[in-house]
């Protein structure tokens, strides 16, 4: 009964599957690239974006920036510069970090750890 009904319905419906899928897929990837609000970024992407933000900071020498670098000890920044970097990170990832958490972020490693979504690797 169910299968008869199903085939009767299916006979009258035409869905261009491959076309719909590819169109949908390409639209999604385009959105991905433009959107900063994305729960599905990989850890590599997070690291790259965090490092880009830090490198763009005017007082930082871009060649010194690595994922393990400490803002004050290695890059010679002061505590207010660190605050500015954390704010730039918040804007990059569209996050709202609570004050108490934000003042604890003092190195690239901590920043990556904070901004990285739950990852399985």
């Amino acid at each position: 009964m169910a299968s008869a009904l199903r085939s009767a319905i299916l006979r009258h419906i035409r869905i261009p599957v491959t076309h719909a899928l590819s169109a949908n897929g390409s639209r999604l990837t385009a959105l991905r690239l433009m959107s900063s609000h994305d729960d599905h970024i990989t850890k590599d992407e997070v690291i790259k974006r965090v490092l880009d933000v830090v490198k763009c900071f005017p007082k930082v020498d871009p060649s010194k920036v690595t994922p393990e670098v400490h803002f004050e000890k290695d890059l010679g920044l002061d505590s207010l510069d660190t605050v500015e970097i954390v704010m730039a990170l918040e804007e990059e990832f569209k996050l709202e970090i609570p004050d108490k958490e934000a003042v604890r972020i003092e190195s690239c490693e901590q920043a990556i750890e904070y901004t990285c979504p739950l990852s399985f690797d």
């Binding site: 009964m1 169910a2 609000h37 505590s79 207010l80 660190t82 605050v83 500015e84 954390v86 704010m87 569209k94 996050l95 709202e96 004050d99 108490k100 934000a102 003042v103």
Partner: protein, 119 residues
């Protein structure tokens, strides 16, 4: 005794440091609330930084406490009444709002029971 004194001194300096950082952070955000465009924000942010830099070399603990209190009072006085909140953060305009599912997708509340009902 002097050890205890220096420990408490260091603890006090550390707490002052944190207070200044939180104050600077909040003030910088508030600057962004008042100046909505980047070309307005950058000079304002520089001016704010300048106000902090003036007192960079102050060493006296009591003076620092007073300066921080002054700064916090000034921040509270000029705080923006309607600050920007990231849309999907708590309090934001899109908080807890989920998009409707795309066309053709529906939620089956009787999942797994379809066959049983038809038979």
């Amino acid at each position: 005794m002097s050890g205890i004194a220096s420990v408490s001194f260091l603890a006090r300096r550390a707490s002052q440091r944190e207070r200044v950082r939180i104050l600077y952070r909040r003030a910088l955000r508030d600057t962004l609330n008042w100046a909505v465009h980047r070309h307005l924000f950058y000079p304002d942010a520089d001016a704010l930084r300048e106000r902090f830099e003036v007192n960079r070399k102050v060493e006296d603990v009591e003076t620092i406490d007073r300066l921080i209190a002054d700064g916090e009072a000034s921040y509270n006085k000029w705080r923006h009444p309607d600050p920007y909140i990231v849309p999907w953060a708590p309090g934001g305009s899109k908080f807890n709002r989920n998009p409707v599912p795309p066309e053709g997708i529906e939620i089956l509340y009787d999942y797994g029971k379809e066959e049983a009902e038809l038979v």
